[in-house]
Amino acid sequence: MAGILVFAELQGGAFATGSLGLLEEAERLGQALGEPVHALVCGDVDGSQAAALGRHGATVVHVAAGGGYGLAQPIVDAVATLQAAESFRYLLFGASIAASDAAAGAAVRLDAGLVIDAVELAADGGELVTRRAGLGDSVLAHCAFTTPVGVVVVRANAFAAAEDRSGPDAELRTFAPEFRTFSTAARISGHEEAEQSGVDIGEADVLVGGGRGLGKAENFALCEALAAALGGAVAATRAVVDAGWYPYSSQVGQTGKMVSPRCYIAVGISGAIQHKVGMQSSGLIVAINKDANAPIFDFADFGVVGDLHAIVPKLTELVKARG
């Protein structure tokens, strides 16, 4: 077993920035372990786009022919076909809807160890020991593999990609995965692009994030009024976006946007890891939640245990009264 494979994920025709950061981290790890770094691209990509992954640390880029890679299972087939020829020691994936599931499927298919939600990759005594956050990020477990092959899913955007990096083009190799019947039984029959609302939440100085604790769509008016008073914008969790209470373009988190406003005010948000990864780099985090055990309090700078219906309208009035 030799080498590190990084899954370079295409999202809407471009490489996910998380994949590029992961590739750069893999390069550092590869140097420490003395292992070369290859990348896997599934789907339609032009040669120069794929070869440019060399800039982020890949020496070889394997391009899987065929399609359907918006779903995880065809990716598992591609990984398994490539692994049969290359015998990589470690396979690294950046967390995403498709990639996390593909990593799990691949670990099963290869009977390899699997670590999810890794936040650090360390070379330790000639092997990879991942740091996996646990218990609401209160502890880091140092996980090692007991198998010759290890699969890792890295937390969304755990490693930032450098702004402009130079380097030689990677060598391109194309291969045809052996698809299994069940892997290609599901298919994507429709896609709705994220509609862009007027405000770009990534630009806002202050964000008021609303969650399911608001109780119903109409109560987002409470967040909108507070945001307006503060000169900010409104953000949302996946739970309320999936429920149709607020537009997808306002969603913060693993599957949504990464934001770092000067201040993030979380209203009726529990603080699940997948939301946290999108807003934890905010300057200040204020949380209003009626449940004293909500995980959001573990990473809020100012936490209020209380009913948002009592607190938010009053806060809005107080802010307005000052201006």
């Binding site: 918006g70 499927g105 999810i116 090692a144 298919r187 204020v286 936490g303 607190i311 000052r322």
Partner: protein, 260 residues
């Protein structure tokens, strides 16, 4: 239509969470409960049944014998029968080992649809459905925000990084559901009382035909070498609202120049 729902027992969120530095194991003090995310999967199955499709709902759980109460909770929510794999040999199972045990249970019956919650509230790993589907050679889609059954075709809408996808697949299939797919109802008193009388199957590894070397610590493919503390965010303040919370938040915002 036979539906299986995989449900997990997790520590009650109010229980203290701690890892024993000696054993690197999770110390579970206090009560355990049904993983809240799994209630959405049960509710979705109940809705399929209520739509007029003749349906049998099986609750499938891998966990210690003491998890029997959690099995009953799940049955009260809407199951018809349960399959519970309880064996000391399962302790220390990682994702690979647990998925092997679940797949073995699911292979004992011809389920048309296997449902999962979006994630376990203690593990935060959200890939069990994908791992089990791979073992069962079944199509799989995760994080379904809506689910429609059209004969033997399942149509799922789910959020991805670029918007919403509609995915179609033939049954039998494996699906995990997002917590926004529905609002689970509270079980009625008769449902709670009746749960105990529903057929319960409690199996050991031997009963289920699972080789003990393939599950538990022996069947796991990862090991924890040590623990450390992540860097925190630094000092933080937490208050209970006594009627003046809005004033205190304002003062905090002014102090930090968010409000001038």
């Amino acid at each position: 239509m036979k539906i299986a729902i995989c449900v997990k027992e997790v520590p009650d969120p109010t229980a203290e969470k701690r890892i024993d530095p000696g054993t690197n194991r999770l110390v579970r003090t206090g009560e355990n409960t049904l993983n809240p995310y799994d209630r959405h999967a049960i509710e979705e199955a109940v809705r399929i049944k209520e739509s007029g499709v003749e349906t049998e709902i099986s609750i499938v759980l891998v966990g210690p014998a003491s998890a029997a109460r959690t099995v009953d909770k799940a049955l009260a929510q809407g199951g018809d029968r349960s399959v519970h794999l309880a064996d000391d040999g399962l302790a220390d199972s990682d994702i690979l080992a647990t998925s092997r045990a679940l797949a073995a249970l699911l292979e004992r019956d011809a389920y048309d649809l296997v449902l999962f919650g979006q994630q376990a509230s203690d593990a935060e790993c959200y890939v069990m459905a994908a791992a089990v589907a791979e073992r069962l050679d079944r199509p799989c889609v995760s994080q379904a925000a809506s689910l429609t059954l059209d004969g033997s075709t399942l149509r799922v809408k789910r959020q991805v990084e670029t918007g919403y996808d509609t995915v179609e697949m033939p049954l039998p299939a494996v699906v995990s559901v997002s917590d926004a797919i529905n609002e689970p109802r509270y079980p009625s008193l008769p449902a709670i009382m009746g749960a105990k009388r529903k057929p319960h199957e409690v199996l050991s590894l031997a009963d289920a035909g699972i080789d003990p070397d393939t599950v538990g610590g022996a069947g796991s493919r990862t090991t924890v070498r040590g623990l450390s503390k992540p860097a925190g965010r630094g000092a933080s303040v937490r208050i209970e609202d006594d009627g003046t919370a809005a004033e205190k938040i304002l003062a905090f915002l002014v102090e930090n120049k968010v409000v001038v």
